[in-house]
């Protein structure tokens, strides 16, 4: 910026201060737009970022091989047991893979409360390595622990089984489940002590469950995301049948190699969805699913962006109109400035500085308004509205842009003014 324009920018800021009521009213328009913007951006990108973080915890480098969730009508249930496990081990040999067989049943579990449709999963001690989820409390079971001696619960399962007093619901701690006993249906002696609680990878579990209601348990992904399981040592369910085999690879290159090798024997789950090629056993690469899920959230983010851009556009038109009216009322003043030696560039600088100052002040006013709005919305609707300072900073940038854009037409009008015509009232 030319230093010669600096006094005229200061002149613009001074003018804003001299007309506090008009400046305030214009700033309020900007503030409302920014309050909406900050909420929509926070919701948009905040939710998107949280979902991506959540998804990333599901184990990006893990491949699941298991029975297809779809069965051709009349077809026999696929065989998936020790021979298939041996085949998988052979296919990923030399890739430093961790192979974890999983046998599961759907049971009713009982602790302090009863939890129907709990997935009882019998796994080896390596199972946590197939995920990127921390322990919320306690530990995972070791190789020296067998049968129904110990169990680990998903956090949501632990909360269902040991909810604690209703009055302390908000302060529920995963630690409160440690050392407690859980009984599982399906046979005698199926009772285990809780030694650990796995963290919940889902930031917005209640939101997800409301979206997923009625379908989650029927799909492979839904089952994966439900995280309402109880884990017991592998020998607790001595069935020859396997539900799934998890294969964790050390890096993406070896993940790709493993995927290709496994798909030479079993098709990818995406192919299996085609009715003409329903396969009994499928390979599910979590990375592929995560990338696809990420793209879905991007579409949501695009729509959200469209909303705040439209709102800002409307605000821009409103502020621009207000500025134009103001400029029209200031024809005499601007003509006098031209008489006294103001160049067109001086008036453009002044009017732009006025618009910029008002919109930035409006933007800053919009931040507490946005915060308040987020708080109110959070109480009214069960959606994760929140106020994020990073997005607030973006919103102030948007406000500045708004001020610049809405000053373009008024500044041009001011610069194009013919002072002689104004002073002789040929232009009013």
């Amino acid at each position: 910026m030319s230093s010669a324009l600096w006094p005229h920018l200061v002149e613009g800021v001074t003018h804003v201060v001299r007309r506090p009521l008009r400046s305030f009213l214009t700033a309020v328009t900007c503030a409302v737009a920014i309050a909406v913007t900050v909420n929509v951006i926070s919701l948009n990108y905040g939710l998107d970022e949280d979902i991506r973080n959540d998804i990333a915890r599901f184990g990006r480098l893990t491949i699941d091989v298991g029975r297809s969730p779809l069965i051709r009508p009349g077809a026999a249930r696929a065989v998936f047991g020790e021979p298939e496990l041996a085949k998988i081990r052979a296919l990923v040999d030399g890739l430093d893979a961790v192979v974890v067989p999983l046998r599961s049943e759907q049971v009713t579990a009982t602790g302090d409360a009863e939890a129907a449709r709990t997935v009882l999963a019998a796994v080896t001690p390596d199972y946590p390595r197939t995920l990127d989820i921390d322990m919320a409390a306690g530990r995972w079971f070791g190789a020296d622990e067998h049968g129904f001696s110990v169990c680990v619960l998903d956090r949501s399962a632990a909360r269902s089984l040991f909810p604690g007093p209703a009055s302390a619901e908000a302060a529920w701690s995963a630690r409160s489940a440690l050392g407690r006993r859980v009984r599982f249906t399906g046979g005698e002696g199926r009772e285990a002590v809780v030694v650990g609680v796995l963290s919940d990878p889902m930031t917005y579990r209640s939101l997800f469950e409301s979206f997923d209601e009625g379908r989650g348990s029927r799909t492979l992904v839904g089952a994966l995301l439900s995280f309402r399981s109880a884990y017991v040592p592998a020998d607790a369910i001595p069935s020859p049948d396997l539900t799934m085999v998890h294969v964790k690879l050390p890096d993406e290159a070896r993940l790709e190699t493993a995927r290709r090798r496994l798909e030479t024997v079993w098709p990818a789950s995406s192919d299996a969805i085609r009715p003409d090629v329903i396969a009994p056993v499928t390979v599910f690469t979590r990375k592929t699913w995560m990338d696809a899920a990420g793209n879905v959230t991007q579409t949501g983010a695009f729509l959200g962006n469209l909303v705040w851009i439209l709102i800002c556009l409307v605000a821009c038109i409103m502020i621009s109109t207000l500025n134009l009216v103001t400029i029209r009322e200031r024809y005499d003043e601007l003509a006098v400035r031209r008489c006294e030696g103001a160049r067109k560039s001086h008036l453009v600088a002044q009017v732009t500085a006025e618009g910029l100052t008002i919109s930035v002040v409006g933007g800053l006013m919009g931040l507490p308004l946005g915060y308040l709005g987020a708080e109110v919305l959070r109480r009214i609707v069960s959606f994760p509205f929140r106020f994020d300072p990073r997005y607030a900073a973006v919103a102030v940038g948007v406000a500045a842009f708004l001020g610049l854009v809405s000053s373009v037409v008024p500044a041009r009008r001011a610069a194009g003014l013919d002072p002689a015509a104004v002073l002789t009232r040929r232009v009013t």
Partner: protein, 235 residues
């Protein structure tokens, strides 16, 4: 003989709107020398304001040339004309045209802002100009807090602060009572005595009588009232 401040040679102004052309000022020759006090009289719509706008570099003649201090300003760019107005010409208007949200001091500072004068220096010179017109006690007053006569004196101080070579006054007493008008005319007289070149536009013969030289303008034609030493002729 020294170069005149103002030299119009066949300068006229035609306004065009669609197919209609209105000749607001017929081509005129006019010369004004440094230190002159000239009054231009004429009825409303006679072309007085058009002449003032051309002389004040607010408008360009559509024919002929205009030399200000020897420099042809008829074809200058908009930015150059702004610089000429800022450096050489002072304006006083009938309706004062003060910035209503600004103090008297800030109003007087205005031309210096566009001349690139530093803030401290602007303040000092503006205060001195207000003192010249007898308003040193009113520096922090806004136009709404001043009488009409005081407002016109602020406008006069604003015109003076840049030490113009030519002061153009358009009906400077038109909105004032006789007492306030008398004060303003007295100030103009004092400025003339200090060597400022004055060109006063008025329809009031009593006001025009203060000038040393008088011109009349009627239907866009400028004529000399034969009492002074100006040269004026149709081209």
């Amino acid at each position: 003989m020294t170069e005149p401040i103002v030299r119009l040679e066949g300068a006229g102004r035609v306004y065009r709107k669609a197919a209609v052309a209105v000749e607001a000022l017929r081509p005129v020759n006019l010369t004004v020398h440094a230190g002159e006090y000239v009054a231009v009289t004429g009825p409303s719509g006679s072309g007085k304001s058009t002449l003032l706008h051309i002389l004040g570099c607010l408008d360009r003649p559509t024919c002929g040339t205009y030399r200000l201090e020897g420099r042809d300003v008829s074809a200058l760019s908009d930015a150059d004309l702004a610089a000429v107005r800022n450096r050489l010409i002072g304006f006083v208007f009938q309706r004062f045209h003060l910035l209503r949200d600004e103090t008297a001091l800030r109003n007087v500072e205005l031309p210096l802002l566009y001349a690139g004068v530093a803030r401290g220096e602007r303040r000092r010179r503006a205060a001195a100009a207000l003192d010249t017109v007898g308003l040193s006690a009113r520096t922090d007053h806004r136009p709404g807090q001043l009488s009409g006569g005081e407002q016109q004196r602020v406008a006069l101080a604003r015109a003076l602060v840049k030490e113009p070579r030519l002061l153009l006054a358009d009906e400077p007493t038109g909105n004032l009572d006789s007492a306030a008008g008398g004060v303003v005319l007295g100030l103009l007289e004092a400025l003339h005595d200090r060597g400022v070149t004055l060109l006063l536009i008025t329809h009031d013969p009593d006001v025009a009588a203060h000038a040393r030289r008088r011109l009349t303008i009627h239907d866009g034609v400028v004529r000399e009232v034969p009492t002074g030493h100006a040269e004026i002729a149709a081209p």
